[in-house]
């Protein structure tokens, strides 16, 4: 408590304090040529001060508080530069020599780096690393993080980013991973049909300057996330023409980039064009994905001498998409394609007020519009007229031949169907943010950030549709453009206090709070509020003794909560339609049968109690410099609560079925008959020759299934990430990076389910459908409904260790990396638990109905009883299952058999065995060679030894070859050529 009071006091003092300030002016110059470097950003981050050098490289920083500050320079095409400056008077003519990024530099870095002086765990990957790795798809960038696994780039693979998680886990980690391109959130909330992070394969990787990945506690200015942020920074600044061509086994990429100095003080325009195309199969050109990205960014600094305003306007567009055609040698004109068009606009203004009360004011306005049109054109044929059900209303309907009929009898013979699915997610975002940074005395620095963030998401797409309803198969219109928009207004405040001790030790404390108000008008959810507090602290100790073993140590710790807003898929699950065939007269001579169906139209079930998915994250770490060794270690513990889950609900349903045998006694010749059906009772009437005969029918009972989103149980993850960089020689470095990761989740949501289907019985039958209620489900995807399963969770442990040797030959402008990726631990196990106790029963024989409580016994079949069941007659009465089963066993064999069908069984005896995969490894080789200042060549080979080793899988006790397996990438290689003109 005392500490909190101290912090608050320090913040208050800082706000009120006023002190003297100085000016730093100087020039940013190219270290080799001595020429001024225009458009370089010169910053003192801890004071929120910045300047942009003019085209001659000159800059001025005003109102710099006295004391020691870290001055940083960022400029496109140059290595990041930082230096300490001690300010106790005006500093003029400061010359900052910066190095152009090239392999001539002895300490060039081509791997991901732990972001220096960040208060929480975050990594940065710069252009040289992206070039060296030849990244073509942003979805694979996480392979550069500690312990990352190499992914062979192919754009037909639309895998999504998910930080600090593995595949097939609960908690929607991908959905909770935020991706920003130049400050524009790639919002996926308005996309229907998926619950995941946004697709990143449309991002032109050649236009990326750097990537920052925050896996720890993000600043409160970042909301609508639960698993970290990936920030992609695009080129901004003056540059020569850069022409680049990359090719690997399946993908080719061509790009052109140029940063044009408009002259005088007219700013810089960055132009970028990239074309990339991937084939799914090397041998066949018929399935491919391509992107054609054109970007234009204008940035300029206004009011340089008074109140500098740095303004950036960017527009980026992509025309591309996926196309899959049938091999023309094998089929007709069928194809499957997805046209993808993307327009991204961003306006970013930063005003350096630099007054006592306000240092910096920034305004961001951005918009992202995506249009995805899936176009499926396929050949179809039938010898019988098929009923295409387009009914939107509950009731009985009979098929007709007009395309306007609710049930259309389709054609016979041959035809084509043109099916579209249109999504047009649109996201707009406005941010107003104010920073006040102040130094009090020489040791205390404070920063206060206040901001407001308004975002809106909608979808102007039409959904799935057909232009010709006469051939449109069973389908219902569900227009995305009719769905209510999602609005979110957030206010946030973050305060940071940094105190310097001795000469250079530093304690930094950061506290922030974000309040999101999410408005979903015209829906049951209306307005929902959520709070996200976040705290971080960092202590840097620097050894003043030159030549000491330990040069510096930085410790950081933080805790934060983040909230992931629901997406349209969660808010507006598609309507359910239950269609059942209730009458079929015979097929006529022209192969038409006037089928009748009962349709139950069920509106989406809103869940008034739905809470927003929330992650509590604890992040601790240490960074250390031990002479030539740099060490970074981060630990994390996250719990995700209220993860979104889809469940089924069941409603009793009765319908009338009319047997065709009822037509046997009808004397009306079939050619003269017409059929009608009463839409509410289902009575079929045959008319003709002046007669009308109502056919007898029988009533049948079943259940209607509908979908609903609920909150799942807590998901836990913890782990340790490390990076150790050792400079063996100036020209040879060694890196060890790895991760130990552990995941555990057990879902205890009570879900309704019928493992053998819903059942359908005559109303007069002694048997009627039953529904079971189970504790938890093993479903990991929020897009699929949770269904009864013997396992309701899993636990896994992974330990991956990568070792890289990097050889630099600056004189030859050559860099080579040999990377070994080792899996030391890969262990997973299915779980079946509830309330910390056992949940299922281990049985001796596969068909048994009774067994011993399941406590993890290996090599046993496992069965799961529902906790309750309900009947068709009384669906709301939950009956204890185990008791009912025991009673029915002795008194009601028919019920006993029926109840037995509600028992869920493991498919194999080894299902619950732990699957421990023996250690394995693969090796990659990368080389980049610059030829003069204008030409650069890179080559890589993933898994270049094409390992043929085997691993043992303890679950089945089988050996699996690594060749073509999921454990290591396939042998893959690529080449790139870069020209700077």
């Amino acid at each position: 408590m005392l500490k909190i009071q101290t912090i608050l006091f320090m913040m208050l003092v800082s706000l009120l304090a006023m002190s003297q300030s100085y000016r730093i002016s100087g020039r940013v110059v190219d270290a080799e040529s001595g020429d001024g470097v225009g458009f370089a950003y010169v910053m003192i981050p801890e004071l929120s001060l910045w300047a942009v050098a003019d085209d001659g490289g000159s800059f001025v920083l005003r109102n710099v508080a006295p004391g020691e500050s870290l001055l940083q320079v960022n400029c496109m095409g140059y290595e990041k530069f930082s230096t300490k400056v001690t300010v106790n008077a005006d500093i003029d003519n400061l010359v900052l020599n910066i190095n152009a990024s090239s392999l001539k530099i002895s300490d060039v870095v081509v791997v991901a780096q732990r972001k220096k002086s960040s208060i929480s765990t975050s990594y940065s990957i710069d252009r040289m690393a992206l070039d060296n790795q030849q990244i073509l798809n942003m979805g694979s960038v996480s392979s550069l993080l500690p312990g990352g696994r190499t992914v062979n780039d192919n754009l037909t693979d639309d895998s999504r980013l998910a930080l600090r998680s593995e595949k097939l886990e609960m908690g929607n980690a991908s959905f909770g991973t935020a991706v920003e391109v130049d400050g524009v959130r790639m919002d996926n909330n308005a996309t229907m049909g998926e619950v995941s992070s946004a697709s990143t394969r449309s991002v032109a990787t050649s236009d990326i300057e750097s990537v920052d990945i925050v896996t720890g506690i993000p600043s409160v200015e970042y909301g609508d996330l639960s698993n970290g942020v990936v920030k992609i920074n695009l080129h901004r600044g003056k540059s020569p023409y850069v022409v680049e061509a990359k090719v690997n086994q399946s993908t080719s990429q061509f790009s052109l980039n140029k940063g044009v100095d408009m002259g005088g003080r007219r700013g810089v325009v960055n132009l970028s064009f990239e074309h990339a195309r991937s084939l799914r199969e090397i041998a066949s050109p018929y399935t491919s994905y391509k992107r054609n990205v054109l970007s234009l960014r204008y940035s300029n600094l206004f009011f340089r001498s008074s109140m500098p305003l740095n303004l950036t306007f960017g527009v980026s567009g992509n025309i591309g998409g996926y196309k899959s055609e049938q091999d023309p040698d094998r089929n007709l004109d069928s194809y499957d394609k997805e046209d993808e068009r993307l327009l991204r606009l961003n306006l970013d203004g930063s005003l350096l007020v630099n007054s006592a009360w306000l240092t910096d004011l920034s305004l961001k306005a951005n918009m992202s519009l995506t249009s995805r049109l899936k176009d499926r054109y396929y050949n179809s044929s039938s010898s019988s007229a098929q009923p295409y059900i387009h009914v939107m209303q509950t009731g009985y309907h009979v098929a007709g031949i007009s395309s306007d009929d609710d049930i259309v009898l389709g054609p016979t013979g041959y035809w084509y169907v043109h099916e579209y699915n249109e999504q047009k997610p649109l996201n707009a975002n406005f941010v107003l943010k104010a920073n006040r940074s102040k130094r009090v005395g020489s040791a205390l620095t404070t920063k206060l950030m206040l901001g407001a963030d308004f975002s809106m998401s909608g979808n102007n797409g039409r959904g799935r549709y057909y232009n010709d309803l006469s051939v449109a198969p069973t389908w219902r219109e569900y227009r995305y453009d009719a769905l209510p928009w999602l609005y979110n207004l957030a206010f946030y405040a973050e305060a940071q206090v940094a105190r310097t001790f001795r000469s250079s030790d530093k304690l930094t404390l950061n506290a922030g709070l974000r309040d999101d108000m999410t408005m979903i008008p015209q829906s049951a959810y209306n307005t929902v509020g959520s709070l996200s507090p976040r705290f971080s602290a960092r202590y840097l100790w620097t050894n003043d003794n030159d030549g000491a073993l330990v040069e510096d140590v930085a410790l950081h710790a933080g805790w934060g909560r983040s909230v992931k807003l629901p997406s349209f898929q969660i808010l507006y699950p598609q309507e359910s339609y239950f269609d059942i065939l209730t009458f079929t007269p015979g097929t006529t001579a022209d192969n038409k049968a006037y089928y009748a169906y009962y349709t139950y139209a069920s509106k989406p079930l809103y869940n008034d109690d739905l809470k927003f998915q929330m992650t509590n994250q604890t992040d601790v770490g240490v960074e250390m410099t031990l002479r030539a060794v740099k060490l970074s270690l981060s630990g994390f513990y996250t719990t995700t609560d209220n993860a979104y889950r889809m469940v089924n609900s069941f409603t009793p349903l009765q319908y009338a079925f009319t047997s065709q045998a009822a037509l046997e006694d009808i004397t009306i010749p079939s050619a003269d008959r017409s059929y009608s059906i009463d839409s509410s009772s289902g009575t079929v009437t045959v008319s003709g020759n002046g007669m009308q005969v109502a056919l007898p029918s029988s009533l049948r009972n079943t259940f209607l299934k509908n979908r609903q989103y609920v909150n799942g149980s807590t998901v836990r993850r913890y782990g340790l990430e490390w990076m150790v960089d050792v400079e063996i020689r100036k020209w040879l470095t060694f890196r060890l990076d790895g991760i130990f990761y552990r995941y555990r989740a057990v879902d205890e949501t009570l879900i309704a389910g019928t493992p053998m289907g819903v059942g359908d019985y005559l109303a007069s039958s002694a048997l009627q459908p039953l529904v079971g209620y189970y504790r938890g489900s093993g479903a990991s995807s929020a897009t699929d409904p949770s269904t009864p399963a013997v396992s309701n969770g899993s636990e896994s442990s992974h330990c991956r260790q990568n070792a890289s040797f990097t050889l630099r030959v600056p004189k030859a402008r050559l860099i080579m990396t040999l990377k070994t990726e080792v899996s030391l631990l890969n262990k997973t196990r299915q779980l079946s638990q509830a309330n910390g106790n056992t949940r299922g029963f281990a049985i001796d024989k596969a068909g048994d109905i009774e067994g011993a409580p399941f406590n993890g016994q290996e090599d046993h079949y496992v069965i799961l009883y529902p906790e309750f069941y309900s009947t068709w007659q009384q669906p709301d009465e939950l009956i204890d299952f185990a008791e009912a089963l025991a009673n029915a066993k002795v008194s009601n064999r028919q019920l006993y058999q029926q109840l037995s069908q509600l028992i869920v069984r493991s498919s194999t005896a080894y299902y619950f065995n732990q699957n421990k995969v023996s250690p394995f490894c693969s090796m990659n080789f990368l080389v980049t060679k610059e030829i003069g200042d204008h030409v650069s060549l890179s080559f890589y080979a993933n898994n270049f030894v094409n390992t043929m080793k085997s691993v043992k899988e303890s679950q089945t006790r089988l050996e699996t070859s690594l060749f073509d397996s999921k454990y290591v990438p396939k042998l893959y290689y690529g080449l790139s050529l870069k020209l700077k003109l």
Binding site: S381, S384, Y414, L581, A589, D760, A846, S907, T908
Partner: protein
């Protein structure tokens, strides 16, 4: 016996002569029988007098025979039996009070009554057409036109009451997993049953199959497919049967109501020609393999098909798939199986495995799907010639009994 009769008669006459010194007058009693001309050599006529003395003799080729008897009152009987592979045919006729004497015609005309008895199962699967045919627009194959053709190998009409059609797990012989195959041995081989997967179809109790006749069962799509697919089959014929029962539901609520697979049958087919389904597996169609089914027909003994399936232990699951409806099978006693045929995909014979036990089918027949091919039982030429009707071989070995034909016999 005949000799003894005449000896006794001679003694009797001699003794009369001795007593009365008078010759006994005899008469020719001519007996003609209608309806036995084709089997005259298998028939005989017996004459019995009032003292229960009898005499018999065979008919000639015109169905006539003559006895020389004294005047009196006689009983005349016709007896004959013809036995073939599947039937015993009994010819009977009689007339009593036949008076033989001077003033009578001494002629008897009998009309044989014919009684046939089935002595062995005459029902066979004559043909399985399951691979589909090529579409007219070159877009591939059309496979929703399968059929099974049964044949009655006998001269006796056979009732199809309680006769059902099933298929053995797995659907395809070349499937990677044969759930009942352990260590290369079918787990049910040492038991007395065979697993019928997904569901079975049974005939209306009044259905029967005429002697030496075939009966077409359209498995799916009992309509005229040739209107769209010229290489396919026209099933819109009133004498055809079909599998159609959209009401049958498995315990999961599933019905055979997939209208592509099971379109409503042609209205020319009477609904009593619809086979009824008992569905216990998953899915909305009866998924008979397009490449390699193992089809069998069986007849429920003692119970109706419905009663048998309703029994508590009638369903059986593979050992590791207990309660899984996808693999639910009917435990069909092998003694009930009338016929079965094991078909292998000719493109995948090395990976195909047997599902039928040797007592049902000790071999297999290959077929290439998608090109209109059909698997047809070979004709027993010798037996057919002898019977004057088509008789098909049935050695319980498809390798011998069937051949792959270029097209379905219904085309």
């Amino acid at each position: 016996m005949k000799k003894l009769f005449f000896l006794l008669l001679a003694v009797f006459l001699v003794s009369c002569d001795k007593d009365d010194d008078k010759t006994i007058k005899t008469y020719d009693l001519t007996i003609s029988v209608n309806g036995v001309e084709a089997v005259f050599d298998s028939c005989y006529v017996m004459v019995i007098d009032q003292q229960n003395n009898s005499n018999s003799c065979n008919l000639d080729a015109s169905g006539v025979t003559t006895f020389t008897v004294p005047a009196g009152i006689y009983e005349v009987y016709l007896n004959g039996t013809v036995t073939d592979a599947y039937c015993r045919t009994i010819y009977n006729a009689s007339q009593t009070g036949v008076v033989v004497g001077d003033k009578t015609a001494n002629m008897v005309e009998l009309t044989a009554t014919v009684t046939k008895m089935q002595t062995a199962n005459p029902l066979v699967i004559k043909e399985v057409y399951c691979g589909g045919c090529q579409k007219d627009d070159g877009s591939g194959k059309f496979t929703n036109d399968k059929c099974i053709i049964l044949y009655n190998n006998s001269s006796l009409a056979v009732s199809l009451a309680n006769v059902a059609v099933g298929m053995v797990e797995p659907y395809n012989a070349e499937a990677g997993t044969h759930s009942f195959l352990t260590g290369g041995k079918l787990t049910y081989e040492s038991d007395n049953w065979i697993p019928g997967i997904n569901g079975i179809w049974y005939f209306n109790s009044s259905a029967e199959i005429a002697p030496y006749s075939e009966l077409v069962v359209a498995v799916n799509g009992a309509i005229d497919h040739t209107l769209s697919y010229s290489n396919s089959v026209n099933y819109a014929k009133p004498e055809y049967y079909c599998m159609y029962d959209p009401e049958a539901a498995s315990s999961d609520g599933g019905h055979y109501n997939n209208t592509s697979y099971h379109p409503s049958p042609s209205e020319v087919i009477p609904s009593d020609h619809y086979l009824k389904a008992i569905k216990y597996g998953k899915g909305n169609a009866w998924p008979m393999s397009q490449t390699s089914p193992a089809v069998f027909i069986f007849k429920c003994e003692n119970n109706s098909v419905e009663q048998y399936v309703a029994k508590e232990d009638s369903l059986v699951y593979p050992a590791d798939k207990q309660g899984n409806l996808t693999y639910a099978c009917l435990r069909v006693p092998r003694a009930w199986v009338l016929d079965g045929v094991e078909i292998f995909n000719s493109d995948a014979v090395p990976s195909s495995k047997k599902r039928m036990t040797p007592d049902i089918d000790n071999g297999y027949v290959e077929m290439k799907g998608g090109f209109g091919h059909s698997v047809i039982r070979k004709k027993d030429e010798a037996a057919s010639a002898a019977a004057g009707h088509d008789i098909y071989v049935d050695t319980n070995n498809s390798s011998n009994d069937f051949y792959e034909a270029d097209k379905c016999s219904l085309m």
